[in-house]
Amino acid sequence: MPHIEVLPNTGAAPAPGWAYVPDTGYDPSKVAFNPKDRKRQATRQGAVPTGVELSARQLTAVQRRIAELERDNDARSGIEIPNKKTTFKTSATKKILMSAKEIRHWLDDEDALLTNKAQAPGAGARAPAGRVIKPVIGARGRRGTLTATTVPSTPVQPSTPATNTPRALTPSVPAFPSSVAGSQDKTLEIRTAVPAPLDMEKLEALLAAPPLPYAAARVGPPAAGGPPQRLFCDTCGYWGRVKCLKCGARVCGLECKGKHDQSMCTRF
């Protein structure tokens, strides 16, 4: 892959509104809006681990469907506002009111701004929001390791959570019978059952942390060891036990396959 970067020849910051964005490979969330090199992508295996074998074409279809389900405004309907006023109080509000940007434009802008900040020289010292994303990405699928980094592994002394607060509603963790503490069984060890006391400094840092960018706050995928993805009949919604050989859609039985072949199969 050719390596492209902006050489810092002037001190001026790059113009707002556009940015070089690193090519991170196949990103299904972008493909739905903007498919590129269709022929090659259709044959390539999908890059997202789903537990279900999906070709890139099917993956794109799924992404497109989700984008359709998530859409707020109908693209076709242009509803004009009755008795619209065309006077504006200031130039700033004029710009805001005349803007025809949709949410995806704003989110793209935010993405570009963040990558820009992360790439700009000297920005690292200020710990930009790009830094904050990192643990979140790491958290996907392996939550255990992340908990280990925020919590000291060996509790200093077992105690209940802090109680010197205005409305201490935190119920204390039930104490174990003391006879169990000395036993050899590790699962009955009292030290592992009671959480470490609250570190006020760390908590203060956590509270002072800035909000995450929109994309970073998204929930991660389900844990790797969880149940596999469930598949449903496209026609009636029962379990999709049979796969259509032509288009790959799922159906539950012969009756639904007949309906599917008649009117719903996307390939002939």
Partner: protein, 443 residues
């Protein structure tokens, strides 16, 4: 010589009346709060946050929709996308129609009113800036406080049984995990002493909008094309959907059987929804499935009372199931119980137990039958058995965020400490204001 207008600055910049506004994507929750009387749910009005256009090309702005009787093929323009105010042109028209103009609306003079505005978490900074500029420059409110919606909920009493938290106080609880499952998305926000822990806020893409669209898609591919009937499908979703305690059994009960094995579908789950025809009825209703009537659909008289039926079977529980298993439509996100655990994994271990014991659910999706029971069962399976779980739905989950904001506005000392006056904004500008609301800068 004193500067111009110095006499004005001498009087209290914080007005007596406060407009509390929870600007949701589907409905906006608005009402006045003052120091005089303690606010209640009754002070809040729910107004559709949209501009709608019917089949007859008539345009309805926000609450005008109440007068509408024909919702067929109604198209909606929503200024709020993904929970954030994006299209200010439409939002301004709605705000002016609802609060600012005298006729019919709340009739408020922004110059004599404080504004407490709830926004969705993780809003892009540029959109927040637009919002601030609109509030002070276009509407000219006297003072203004913008906060994420979940944080406002901390000012409410916890909705657990009275013996647990007898005192009514404005002090936020030490630990509160707020689950907001609303129209645009579902967010999980841990709050410590009323302050949100931003790095632990998580958002699921599944919300009421996605559920309605999914039901629309399912009904259209299986029965009748209803792709233009968003309003109707939303009504059907609210009327019939439920969260199944055991998805597999319910799916078996609604199956019609294979070719050789015809079984009876369970009439307690499969329903016929009688669609409104908008001539005699504006709203439909559900009744138990009647296979004979469904088959005789074509035999109905051409003139005379005809009725159109939408059979709803496994759609009833397969649609809200997306909140718990979004992977059913290929959405690579964890379900709500696991998302809660993901959010908690960022917190110190000592706080996790406190959060799990103080969970409050707000937002319209929590009204779906069986939602709370399923959430509690699934969470119990994910948490160690020695940690107590306590989860409750707010008494009115839709207005709860508004009530929190109103209680904040009711207490003048708290209100005074958080708001920014218009003079301060004019002096320091919108960039400072953004930082101030993010909690980074001193006043």
């Amino acid at each position: 010589m004193p500067p111009k207008g110095w006499r004005k600055a001498a009087h209290d910049p914080v007005a007596t009346q406060t407009l509390v506004l929870d600007n949701g994507a589907c409905t906006l929750k608005a009402g006045f709060a003052s120091a005089a009387a303690a606010p209640s749910y009754d002070d809040c009005r729910i107004i559709p946050n949209c501009i709608a256009k019917g089949r007859d090309k008539r345009v309805y702005i926000a609450s005008d929709l109440e007068k509408c009787t024909n919702f067929g093929e109604m198209a909606f323009r929503r200024p709020v996308e993904r929970g954030f105010i994006v299209n200010w042109e439409a939002e301004k028209a709605i705000w002016e129609h609802e609060f600012l103009e005298g006729k019919g609306g709340l009739g408020c003079d922004p110059k004599e009113t404080n504004l407490v505005l709830a926004e969705a978490p993780n809003c892009p900074v540029q959109l927040q800036k637009n919002c601030d500029e609109m509030v002070f420059e276009e509407f000219e409110f006297a003072t203004y406080y913008r906060s994420i919606g979940p944080a406002l909920n901390a000012y409410n009493d916890l909705p657990f049984s009275a013996s647990d938290s007898p005192e009514t106080s404005l002090l936020p609880p030490e630990c509160l995990l707020l689950i907001d499952t609303s129209y645009s998305h579902t967010t999980i926000t841990p709050l410590y002493n009323g302050r949100p822990i931003h790095s632990a806020i998580r958002r699921m893409s599944v919300g009421g909008k996605l559920l309605t669209n999914y039901l629309k898609e399912l009904s259209s591919t299986r029965h009748i094309n209803m792709l233009d009937e968003t309003y109707l499908l939303n009504e059907i979703k609210e009327a019939v959907s439920f969260v199944s305690p055991s998805f597999k059994t319910d799916l078996e009960r609604t199956w019609k059987g294979g070719l050789s094995d015809r079984r009876e579908v369970d009439p307690s789950i499969v329903l016929d929804y009688v669609l409104p025809n908008y001539e005699h009825s504006a709203h439909g209703f559900a009744r138990p499935h009647d296979p004979i009537k469904a088959r005789r659909k074509l035999l109905q008289p051409l003139d005379g009372p005809r009725e159109d039926i939408l059979p709803v079977g496994n759609e009833r529980f397969a649609v809200p199931e997306l909140l718990f298993t979004p992977t059913d439509i290929g959405l690579q996100e964890a379900g709500l119980p696991e998302a809660i655990m993901q959010s908690l994994s960022v917190l110190p271990a000592a706080l996790q137990a406190g959060m799990l014991a103080n969970m409050v659910v707000v937002g319209g999706n929590s009204l779906i039958k069986g939602f709370m029971e399923r959430l509690e069962t699934d969470l119990r399976q994910l948490t160690p058995s020695n940690i107590p779980l306590r989860i409750a739905r707010a008494p009115d989950p839709i207005k709860h965020t508004w009530l929190g904001g109103a209680r904040l506005a009711h207490d003048r000392d708290i209100l005074r400490s958080v708001v920014v006056t218009r003079a301060q904004y004019q002096e320091r500008g919108s960039t400072w204001l953004g930082k101030w609301f993010a909690g980074g800068d001193a006043k």
